[in-house]
């Protein structure tokens, strides 16, 4: 081989090596270039986000839920900081009895010692709930105790808890929160949006150890706390009514009972009780039967209380006065149905006031025959039956008021004394409230004002009242109703010393909600009344459903009325006029 050819060969090898090296270098640069393009060109935002995420932390600042207050500013529902304790069983299994011991020491019977140990030792798990929804101060004690004993593996989750300081008082009116923190029932549901406010958020830079870096970029959206809802409820009166009603319902062996008190001058609901109810604070006794709003959602036949409305319609047409004589037979047969009174009697000579005082069905039927179906229906509509009352609470029922075109003579007769028509208690309160308020009907309200977090207060709009019967007609019916609470009437137990009281009893046949038929021997007893009759201020309606056979409107519901009404008159300093019951004659 010549030197020249050797040199040429070597040069060839070198060139080849150079080319290969170049190719390798180019490939590497190309790979770098491609990656650079990917990072800078295509995935820019993702990488930028990752970079900023590593050094920033975002938190939601939950808005404080507004309070629900009574008319004097006493908190009926309020919120406080709560904690849920969680644990990592990998860390706690070994010391489970010690940890459970500390929990037991602080929380007492709120936890089950052995259940907690089981949770803390749960195999193959790194997350368990130890105890949910405890006040922050108790959680602080637990964590301090664990720190002192140098026990690890228990963690805290912050949350907001709702407190109802009065327990079951007005529970149905206030409502409650579900597990998601949304209002269920009552004002918690009706005003959920306003009460919850708007959550805020905060984003800030943190050091690798989690400390906030001062003067670094931070963003914060202020949270807007929820508004406070001020109700028209008087919590003392409410508690007292709850107590009295509860005793009456228990004593009568009844299914349920309710009591509503209305300020007839302002149309504010002062108290709204029902039994049985639940305790929103301890979340006990929560069931369909206790959470239903009896005053708004339970529809029932009111019975004789409706006679006041029939008389009001007749009085407005000038067809009756308290002393109008009515000859009441012992029984009547209409459309083949025999209708009688609650007590056996021969032919009676009762005045219209006497018909109301003794609660005669037959007397009412005879009086009501002076108006036709359409007229009666139109008055019932004016008094708000078959419509919502407009009260600011959710889930209101409209009751059942059928079209007069389909009425038989028997329908006309029975509706006049409150059977064959279904109402809610709130409808009845509103209707009789119109009689108490000189013939003016208004929409009852339970909320007087809303106060935003900045302190600005807005009064809730009150719809104007409407004159539905004349003032004279209202006065006529009031006089008739005053005869009810005399010794001659059906409810002397409703008398309140010093005050003039007007009222009406009701002992209605009870409809079985499943079959839609009357159940023999079952009744819904009630009493509606207002005082002082000469200058009406408060109206109280008491309904007790399905008491034992011996119960009656006058004997069972009237004493509850008397107790609640006396308390209301005392609390609000209503001075008795000292005037005596007019003593309208009941017979002629």
């Amino acid at each position: 081989m010549s030197a020249a050819s050797t040199r040429a060969l070597r040069a060839g090898i070198v060139r080849k090596r150079v080319r290969i090296s170049l190719a390798i270098v180019l490939t590497v640069f190309l790979a770098f270039g491609a990656r650079l393009l990917q990072i800078q060109g295509f995935d820019t935002s993702a990488y930028a986000a990752m970079a900023s995420d590593a050094g920033t932390r975002s938190t939601i600042v939950p808005a404080e839920r507004g309070e629900i207050l009574d008319r004097n500013g006493v908190a009926l529902a309020t919120s406080y900081n709560g904690i849920t304790l969680t644990a990592d069983p990998k860390l706690t299994a070994e010391n489970a009895p010690k940890i459970a011991g500390i929990l037991r020491e602080v929380l007492g019977s709120a936890i089950d010692y052995f259940d907690v140990i089981d949770q803390l030792r749960k195999p193959d798990s790194r997350f368990v709930y130890v105890v949910k929804d405890i006040p922050a101060w108790q959680a602080d004690q637990v964590m301090d105790g664990l720190d002192e004993a140098d026990l690890n593996g228990v963690f805290v989750q912050h949350e907001s808890l709702r407190s109802y300081p009065n327990g079951s008082v007005a529970a149905n009116l206030i409502g409650r929160l579900n597990a998601e923190g949304e209002g269920v029932g009552g004002l918690e549901q009706k005003y959920d949006d306003l009460l919850s406010g708007t959550d805020g958020s905060a984003t800030y830079s943190v050091s690798p150890t989690g400390e906030k870096i001062p003067l670094a970029d931070s963003q914060a959206t202020e949270m807007v706390p929820g508004s406070d809802v001020t109700t028209t409820i008087d919590s003392d009166l409410q508690w007292y009514a709850d107590d009295v009603l509860s005793q009456a319902v228990q004593g009568a062996g009844a299914d349920w009972g309710l009591a509503i008190t209305l300020d007839v001058q302002t149309c504010e609901i002062m108290q709204m009780s029902q039994v049985p109810t639940f305790d929103a604070d301890t979340k006990t006794d929560v069931s369909d039967a206790t959470t239903v709003s009896r005053g708004l959602q339970t529809v029932y036949e009111p019975g004789s209380v409706m006679k006041t409305i029939t008389m009001a319609a007749l009085a407005d047409q000038g067809k009756i006065t308290p002393t109008t004589p009515i000859r009441v037979p012992s029984e009547m047969t209409i459309d083949g149905f025999t209708i009688g009174d609650a007590w056996d009697h021969g032919v009676l000579q009762l005045t219209a006031a006497g018909v109301i005082a003794k609660s005669s069905n037959l007397g009412t039927i005879l009086a009501a025959q002076q108006m036709d179906d359409e007229t009666m229906h139109s008055y019932l509509s004016k008094f708000g039956f078959g419509q919502k009352t407009g009260v600011d609470l959710p889930g209101e029922s409209v009751g059942i008021l059928t079209d007069p075109a389909g009425w038989s003579k028997a329908n006309h007769a029975t509706i006049s004394f409150g059977q064959g028509i279904s109402v809610t208690a709130m409808q009845m309160v509103r209707a009789v409230g119109a009689i108490a308020n000189g013939g003016q009907i208004c929409d009852p309200t339970v909320v007087s004002s809303l106060t935003a977090a900045d302190g600005t207060s807005t009064a809730t709009a009150q719809d104007g009242s409407q004159q539905i019967i004349s003032q004279e007609a209202a006065k006529t019916v009031t006089t008739m109703m005053e005869a009810v609470v005399t010794e001659d009437g059906s409810a002397p137990a409703a008398q309140i010393p010093g005050y003039r009281v007007a009222g009406k009893t009701g002992t209605a046949w009870r409809v079985d909600p499943d079959t839609g038929r009357y159940v023999s021997g079952e009744h819904t007893v009630s009493f509606v009344g207002f005082a002082p009759a000469d200058a009406p201020r408060f109206l109280t309606y008491v309904v007790i459903d399905n008491p034992t056979a011996a119960a009656s409107g006058g004997g069972t519901a009237a004493p509850v009325f008397r107790d609640i009404m006396s308390m209301a008159l005392q609390r609000f300093g209503i001075v008795p006029t000292g005037a005596a019951n007019p003593g309208t004659p009941t017979t002629w």
């Binding site: 006040p135 101060w137 327990g167 010393p497 006396s566």
Partner: protein
């Protein structure tokens, strides 16, 4: 206005009359000495003060920065401590409110009153101050079941 131009004229004529005399005497002295090349004058800006100033500004800045940063960090810790304290006080306040609300609710007050032997008065009697009239019959409240 009219006086000032006249005055300036007087001054300038005085200067021109004095200047030529001095120039002539300097020109005479230069001619007596031989001209020689001299080394260019070195810019003799004194460095030391400048360096001192810069270094001290820098170190002051550095020290300031360190002090400020330390203060800020210190404040961050103080802030965290105070926030924790505020939180714990808030929790304490909530606990006290929670307890007070429950002690002050109507049921607790009624129970406490009953424990003291107090009974509700179901039949209050009213006295009309203007007429002296008594409405109702005064009766002892009696014992409750």
């Amino acid at each position: 206005m009219s006086a000032s131009p006249a005055r300036s004229t007087v001054r300038s004529s005085a200067r021109t009359s004095a200047a030529p005399t001095r120039d002539l005497s300097r020109a005479g002295a230069a001619r007596e000495r031989a001209l020689r090349i001299v080394a260019p004058a070195r810019a003799r800006a004194r460095r030391a003060p400048f360096v001192v100033v810069v270094v001290s500004i820098l170190s002051a800045g550095l020290v300031g920065l360190v002090v400020m940063s330390t203060a800020l960090q210190d404040q961050a810790f103080e802030l965290a401590r105070l926030q924790t304290q505020a939180q714990s006080l808030e929790v304490q306040q909530q606990q006290l409110e929670y307890e007070a609300d429950r002690l002050g609710n109507p049921a607790s007050l009624a129970a406490a009153a009953a424990a003291l032997g107090m009974v509700p008065n179901a039949t209050p009697v009213f006295l009309k101050p203007d007429t002296g009239e008594i409405i109702g019959v005064p009766t002892p409240a009696g014992t409750q079941p």
